[in-house]
């Protein structure tokens, strides 16, 4: 019983109790967490499960996610629970309210198993920037799981939970999904409410799920995708019927491939991508070469804009109303300066300072405004591409999971987002689906990007590939 939709069905039918499900997953998660460090906290999941079973015993109808254990990235608020954002700054912070996306899950009788580890304030591509230790990749614990939602990715890959939530600002769901052999979905910007998600880059941030099947992604999106009056940027349009649509044939769909982006791509990994494209051809799709010339500037545009937004968003962590306040501070200015110095890690400081630089009066036009204009160019190119194809396919990541400590240079780390950032710049949906293993046995994903609000159609194209692909997506053996 690995899939969330199966668990919910069985709990609703009374074939298994929610308490049994909760106990099984909690035991497994607690047993493996010392070596994986995927969870930062565990919740009273058995108590939650008891309430679901009692509800069923009273003859009440159970929700769509009845008894499904879910891991939540520790940058989302849940009333009365700690929320660290992977930072010393919030080590003792307790949430006074619940994020809208999480409330939607709870309303459908899901079980929240605990909070998952992340790069501090979701800034990083390896999970090495968490203040509470690096997460290990279940395929090889000497390697990183990717980031920033590495804890959620690892938890799902090792089957500690069937579903976990992450957040994606530039690839923080899809890159770790590729590294851990899981499916990671970044919905259209605004499709899932951001209320209660700690802001990093507000024009990019989106909450999305990890799972071990596209069907489970569609299953959870039926609950997650909702307009929210508390998030003015959430989409007002009604969500799609994801579960119905994924079953439809994808014959005659056109898969666009920007081959020019793959010139420098690792030759040993290229056959995995080509095999995935062959699967699409066999399903009756056409593979077409497309051009996205401004892609070479995507990383730069993204790092200017996302750090600019981060520098304003993180200004709220000033040691006044909540979070860390330096004991050495004697004056008000020192409260700000010393609390931030002590509370933030190097990567966060670096991004705040970079963001401060690009929006400072002398540099605003040459960096910030120019990056916003390049964002427009990139958007136009994607819109033009979608007039001739249904999805755009590339590999998700330039490489498979690397060994901890292997990438020290910040720029090399930022280039991990090469294939993923554009979906955030344009606000469109994207998904990583496992497409094979390297010669070392490490997973890597195919990355599919769809047009704005084409979430259901994108999941359909991903699902049809998943059920037809030729390789077997083996579990990391220690966690099977």
């Amino acid at each position: 019983m690995n899939y969330a939709w199966e668990i919910a069905e069985k709990v609703r039918n009374g074939e298994v109790s929610a308490v049994d499900v909760a106990t099984t997953y909690l035991r497994k998660a607690e047993a493996h967490n010392p070596e994986l460090n995927a969870f930062l906290s565990f919740f009273d999941v058995i108590e939650q499960a008891k309430r679901i079973d009692e509800k069923r015993a009273r003859g009440e109808k159970l929700g769509a996610l009845a008894g499904v254990p879910i891991g939540v990235k520790d940058n989302m608020q849940i009333t009365g629970k700690t929320m660290t954002c992977g930072s010393r700054f919030l080590e003792t912070y307790t949430s006074p309210y619940t994020a809208a996306a999480i409330q939607n899950l709870i309303d459908q009788d899901a079980l929240i198993l605990g909070k998952t580890n992340l790069d501090e304030f979701a800034m990083g591509s390896s999970n090495e920037h968490s203040s509470f230790g690096t997460v290990s990749n279940p395929w090889d614990t000497s390697r990183v799981p990717g980031g920033s939602s590495g804890g959620s990715a690892t938890a799902v890959a090792a089957r500690l939970v069937p579903i976990a939530l992450g957040s994606d600002t530039g690839g923080s769901i899809r890159q770790p999904a590729s590294f851990t052999g899981t499916i990671g979905f970044k919905p259209t910007y605004g499709r899932v409410s951001r209320y209660g998600l700690v802001a990093f880059g507000s024009s990019f941030d989106v909450i999305g799920p990890f799972a071990n099947s596209v069907k489970d992604i569609a299953f959870i999106m039926e609950t997650l995708a909702k307009p929210d009056p508390k998030d003015a940027t959430s989409l007002q349009t009604p969500p799609d019927h994801y579960l119905d649509q994924i079953e439809q044939s994808i014959q005659n769909k056109v898969i666009g491939v920007p081959w020019h982006m793959l010139k420098q791509y690792d030759e040993s990994l290229l056959p995995l991508f080509e095999t995935a494209l062959n699967t699409y051809t066999q399903l009756g799709c056409t593979v077409k070469d497309i051009s996205l010339p401004s892609q070479e500037h995507a990383i730069s545009s993204y790092y200017v804009l996302s750090t600019a937004e981060a520098s304003t968003n993180l200004a709220r962590f000033d040691g006044i109303r909540y979070g860390l306040r330096s004991k050495e501070a004697k004056t008000l200015d020192e409260v700000y300066e010393l609390s931030k110095e002590a509370g933030f890690g190097d990567e966060v400081k670096q991004r705040i300072l970079l963001g401060t630089f690009v929006v400072s009066s002398e540099h605003k036009d040459e960096y910030f405004v120019q990056a916003q204009k390049v964002r427009t160019l990139i958007t136009r190119e994607f819109e033009a591409a979608f007039s001739e194809c249904d999805v755009i396919a590339t590999p998700t990541t330039p490489n498979t999971a690397f060994v901890k400590g292997a990438i020290a240079d910040p720029l090399s780390m930022y280039l991990q987002d090469l294939f993923t950032v554009s979906a955030n710049l344009v606000g469109i949906p994207a998904i990583s689906v496992p497409s094979g293993h390297s010669s070392e046995g490490l997973p890597i994903g195919i990355h599919l990007v769809g047009p704005k609000s084409g979430d259901a159609s994108l999941l359909q194209i991903a699902h049809q590939y998943e059920i037809s692909r030729t390789f077997s997506p083996a579990l990391p053996s220690a966690y099977a």
Partner: protein
């Protein structure tokens, strides 16, 4: 590689209100220069007549909701996180200094 002067780092640190001292400072200075060196290439892109993107969606009108109290945020729950408070007020070091 782009150079960032000591003065520039001081100014950024002051603007962001983050004190940056010690060994971290050198590393930070190098990393920032390295990243800036890369993103500088943006300036070579011809963007004449291209409007900036501020937000990915266009809205026909502002998004409004009813002006009704709808909050589960309690003062008590909020104050639980306060580093220092007096009753329902947050306490900070004095802002006004006596003239010396």
């Amino acid at each position: 590689m782009k150079e960032l002067s000591e003065k520039e780092i001081d100014r950024l640190s002051r603007l962001a209100r983050i004190r940056v001292e010690g060994e971290d400072r050198d590393k930070l200075q190098q990393n920032l220069a390295r990243v800036l060196g890369h993103i500088e290439k943006l300036q070579s892109v011809n963007t004449e007549g291209v409007p900036p993107t501020v937000h990915v969606h266009t809205y026909d009108d502002n998004v409004y909701r009813a002006d009704e109290v709808d909050s589960d945020l309690s003062t008590e729950a909020f104050l639980r996180n306060a580093p220092d408070n007096v009753g329902t007020m947050i306490k900070t070091p004095s802002v006004l200094q006596e003239k010396g």
